[in-house]
């Protein structure tokens, strides 16, 4: 067995954002995504003994999460399927859209490939963020992904504005080179 060890104390810090991003691209609802991530962590705790150390912790958690997401859809679908009578009013194939404009292919419509790429993008970025020092990662997430004001972040973390910009600068440089390697 390879030396992958399991340490649940660090799970939240290390993986919650990664798992959440993975979930949010698949379920499109913050609340549900949070619940699913939480369930995943719980399930991980319960079956910790079964962790063989063949894969990294994160891969292992992701594989649990995948099952959880599938289960989630199964649940919602079966409930809906019972309660709802599906109506199909000429919405299929040729009859879709009376207007000529509606029949033309929409160039801005996202294709499956596009979506896939974007899903992977989120994971790639989180991968790179997780390689940053924790402080840089925190600041970068708050500033860029959550869009907080500079002032808010400074107050929350107790740093000065110029301090913040230095941290941001370092984070951006590191991230750019990391993405350069792994994405472009």
């Amino acid at each position: 067995m390879s030396g992958h060890e399991i340490n649940p104390n660090k799970w939240i810090d290390l993986y919650s954002d990664y798992l959440f991003n993975y979930t949010i691209t698949r379920v499109r609802d913050r609340e549900t995504a949070q619940d699913l991530v939480q369930e995943t962590f719980f399930a991980g705790l319960k079956s910790m003994k079964n962790f063989k150390g063949e894969a990294s912790e994160r891969t292992w958690l992701i594989s649990i999460l995948k099952r959880k997401i599938i289960d989630h859809y199964r649940k919602t679908n079966s409930k809906k399927g019972k309660a709802e009578v599906r109506m199909n009013l000429n919405f299929d194939g040729e009859n879709e859209g009376d207007w000529l404009e509606q029949r033309v292919a929409d160039p801005f419509d996202k294709t499956a490939e596009n979506n896939l790429e974007n899903t992977e993008l989120g994971l790639a970025i989180h991968n790179c963020i997780s390689k940053l020092p924790s402080k840089q990662a925190d600041v970068f997430k708050m500033k860029t992904l959550l869009g907080y004001d500079t002032e808010t972040i400074c107050n929350e973390l107790g740093i000065t504005a110029s301090n913040l910009w230095v941290i941001i600068h370092r984070a951006r440089t590191a991230l750019a080179s990391c993405m350069e390697k792994n994405w472009f």
Binding site: I12, D17, T25, R30, Q34, Q38, F41, M142, R172, S177
Partner: protein, 86 residues
Amino acid sequence: MSKDFKLFVSCDKAAHTCDKTQYKEASFWEKIKLNIHLIYCKACRKYSANNAKLTKLTDKPEVDCLKNCEKEKLETNFKKELESHQ
């Protein structure tokens, strides 16, 4: 603005302004100075291009993360569960 009426700024300053522009926080005058700097500084041009690329990627809605309060909630719940397991 009148204090440092300089057209040519150092690379440090330019990089700082470049970071600021990514969050739309740079002033007009700062942007002018940055662009003048970019004309003659190849390193900063490269940094600025990379920076813009990064912003473009992170601005996509597919890149998301947990808010701090959400994370705390997750953490407290998890701690409880962890204790009951040990």
